[in-house]
C-alpha cells in the first residue's frame, strides 16, 4: 500500500484542537483541588503523529484522559473536527497501557467490542473490523481467548479494537510500557508501519524518548506537574521510516535535544 503520509503535514487541516485546557483533580489527602494540566494549547493536524513525553506522574495521562472525555476539564476546550468534546465518543479511541481485553470474549468479539457498543450488529461489526484484523495480522486468532495470547498479541488486539472503530483521532496511553523490551521494539516498528499505511491522526503519551522520536512528526514535552508545554519539537526525519534510523546522527541529536529539555525542567522543579 502507498504511504499516505508526507512531510508537509503543516498544510493539513487541524483535526484535534486543544485550547487552554486546565484539568484539576481532588487530592484525597489534603482535600484540595490540585492542577494536573495547566493551560495546554495544542493543535494536531490530520494524519499527524504527535507524542507527549514527560516525567512519569507529570499529568500527561490525565491530559490524554481529558481528550478521551474520561476526565472533565475545568477550563478551555477540546475540539475534534471542530466539534467540542463533552465526553467519550466514537470519534476518539483509546489504547491503554494494559490490554484490558474482556477475558470471556474471543479475540474476534473483543475487536468488535467498541463497534458493538456503538450499536452495530455483530456481523456488520466483524465485516468492518476485518480490514484492521488483516492489517494487524490477527487473522486466524479470532477464535482464541485472550488468556491464550502473549502480552504483545493482546496489545495488538487492543490496538485493533481501537482502529476498528475507525476513529478520527487515535489516543495511545503508553501503549507498550507493560511489554518486555524486545516485544516493545517489535511493536514500535509495527505501529510505525501501520500508521504510515493508514495515515491516522495519533496522539501518544510515553516516557520512552526513542519511541517518541521514532514514531512522531512532533514531540511535545510536558513539564512536571502541573503539566504545561515546555517545548514542541518537529521530527523532520522523512517517511517511510525504518527502525534503523535509530542509529543515525539526526536521531541521536533529536533525542538529546528532548532529553536536555526534560533534564533542565527536572533540575529546576526538583520534580523527580
Amino acid at each position: 500500500m502507498e504511504s499516505v503520509k508526507s512531510a508537509d503535514t503543516l498544510e493539513r487541516p487541524v483535526k484535534l484542537a486543544i485550547k487552554d485546557i486546565v484539568v484539576g483533580y481532588l487530592d484525597k489527602q489534603s482535600g484540595h483541588t490540585m492542577v494536573a494540566v495547566d493551560k495546554v494549547t495544542l493543535d494536531i493536524r490530520e494524519g499527524e503523529f504527535v507524542t507527549i513525553v514527560g516525567l512519569s506522574g507529570c499529568g500527561k495521562s490525565t491530559f490524554l484522559n481529558a481528550i478521551a472525555g474520561l476526565v472533565k476539564h475545568q477550563h478551555g476546550e477540546i475540539r475534534v473536527n471542530d466539534r467540542i468534546v463533552t465526553g467519550p465518543g466514537m470519534d476518539r479511541a483509546v489504547v491503554f497501557q494494559k490490554a484490558s481485553l474482556l477475558p470471556w470474549r474471543k479475540v474476534g468479539r473483543n475487536i468488535t467490542y467498541g463497534l458493538e457498543l456503538s450499536g452495530m450488529k455483530q456481523a456488520a461489526a466483524r465485516e468492518k473490523a476485518s480490514y484492521y484484523v488483516n492489517l494487524i495480522r490477527l487473522n486466524g486468532f479470532e477464535d482464541h481467548y485472550p488468556h491464550q495470547l502473549s502480552g504483545g498479541m493482546q496489545q495488538r488486539v487492543n490496538l485493533a479494537r481501537a482502529l476498528a472503530c475507525d476513529p478520527e483521532v487515535l489516543l495511545l496511553d503508553e501503549p507498550f510500557a507493560a511489554l518486555d523490551a524486545i516485544t516493545r521494539e517489535l511493536m514500535q516498528n509495527e505501529l510505525l508501519q501501520l500508521c504510515e499505511k493508514v495515515g491516522k491522526t495519533v496522539l501518544m503519551v510515553t516516557h520512552q524518548i526513542d519511541e517518541a522520536v521514532l514514531l512522531s512528526d512532533r514531540v511535545v514535552i510536558f513539564s512536571s506537574r502541573p503539566a504545561y508545554v515546555l517545548a514542541d519539537i518537529r521530527i523532520p526525519i522523512p517517511r517511510p521510516r525504518k527502525s534503523h534510523i535509530k542509529d543515525s546522527e539526526e536521531f541521536r541529536r533529536l533525542m538529546n535535544e528532548i532529553w536536555r529539555v526534560i533534564e533542565g525542567n527536572a533540575n529546576i522543579g526538583g520534580g523527580i
Binding site: S100, L102, W104, P146, Q148, C165
Partner: protein
C-alpha cells in the same frame, strides 16, 4: 503462523488419576464390608445399625410400593418452588446490592441480620402461618437458598475489573452497556457457585423442615422410619437424599465449566 499447542496429558498424570480413584473406591468398599460384617456377626445390635444389604432391600421395597416416588415428588416440589423463587429474587437482589452503593447501604444490614438468623428456628412460626403442608417447607427452602445467591452475586459485583469499565467508558458505553457487557459476564461464575451452595442449603432445608414438622416427603419418611426403629429405611432415605444432592451438585458443576471455558486451565479444576 503461530499455533497454540495443547499438550496431551502425560501417562504419569493418567496413572496418578487411576491410583487415586482406586484408593477412594477401596476405602468406601472397606467401609461397606466392615459395616455388613458388624451386622452379620451381631457385633452391634442389628436394630441400631442395619446393614448395606438390608438398606438395599429397604430401598427396593420403597421403590416397589411407590412410597419413595410419592415422597420424592412432594420433597421435589418443595425444593423446586423454594429454589426457583430464591433464584428469581436472589439474583437481582444480589446484583443490585453489589451494583448500587445506596441499595447496599440501605438493605445490607437488614439482609446480614436475616442471614444470621437460623432459619429452622423459625419453623414453628412458619407452621403457624402456613400450616403443616408444602408452603411452610417452600418458605424454609427459599430462605435457606436465597442468601448464598445474594452474597455471591454481591461479591461478584465487587470483583469487576475497573480497567474493563474504564475501557468500556472510553468507547462511550452507557451504564446499562457496562452492566450488560462487563458486570453480567463477570457475575456468571459467581452465579454458578451461588447456585451450587443454594442447592445444598435448599436440600438441607427441605429435609430438616420435613423432619421437624412434616406430614409427607423424604424427611418425614426418614423421621417416621426412625421413630419406628426401621433403621434400614432411614438409611435408604438418607441414601436417596445424598444421591440427589450429589447429582444436583455435579450437574451445576458441569454447567459452571461450560460458562468458564474462557478462563483456561487455571480455574478448570
Amino acid at each position: 503462523m503461530r499455533k497454540v499447542t495443547v499438550f496431551p496429558k502425560s501417562n504419569a498424570v493418567k496413572k496418578e488419576k487411576i491410583i487415586s480413584s482406586l484408593l477412594g473406591t477401596s476405602v468406601i468398599l472397606l467401609f461397606l464390608v466392615s459395616w455388613e460384617l458388624l451386622f452379620q456377626f451381631r457385633i452391634v445390635n442389628p436394630l441400631f445399625i442395619s446393614a448395606p444389604s438390608r438398606v438395599v432391600l429397604a430401598l427396593i421395597t420403597i421403590i416397589r410400593d411407590g412410597s419413595l416416588l410419592q415422597n420424592l415428588t412432594i420433597s421435589g416440589q418443595e425444593f423446586v418452588f423454594g429454589y426457583g423463587v430464591a433464584v428469581f429474587i436472589g439474583f437481582p437482589v444480589g446484583i443490585m446490592l453489589g451494583w448500587f452503593k445506596l441499595v447496599r447501604a440501605a438493605f445490607g444490614p437488614f439482609i446480614a441480620a436475616m442471614q444470621a438468623t437460623p432459619r429452622i428456628a423459625l419453623m414453628p412460626l412458619f407452621i403457624i402461618w402456613f400450616g403443616l403442608g408444602i408452603t411452610s417447607k417452600i418458605v424454609i427452602v427459599l430462605l435457606s437458598a436465597i442468601f448464598p445467591l445474594i452474597v455471591n452475586l454481591q461479591v461478584a459485583m465487587s470483583t469487576i475489573d475497573n480497567d474493563l469499565i474504564h475501557v468500556a467508558r472510553a468507547y462511550g458505553a452507557s451504564r446499562w452497556q457496562v452492566f450488560r457487557s462487563i458486570a453480567l459476564p463477570t457475575s456468571l461464575p459467581f452465579l454458578i457457585t451461588g447456585l451450587r451452595l443454594a442447592a445444598g442449603r435448599g436440600l438441607l432445608g427441605v429435609i430438616v423442615a420435613e423432619v421437624f414438622g412434616g406430614a409427607a416427603g423424604l424427611g418425614y419418611m426418614i423421621q417416621y422410619a426412625g421413630s419406628t426403629f426401621q433403621t434400614d429405611k432411614v438409611f435408604a432415605g438418607v441414601l436417596v437424599v445424598a444421591f440427589t444432592g450429589i447429582t444436583l451438585d455435579f450437574t451445576l458443576d458441569r454447567l459452571g465449566h461450560h460458562f468458564d471455558r474462557w478462563r483456561g486451565e487455571v480455574a478448570s479444576h
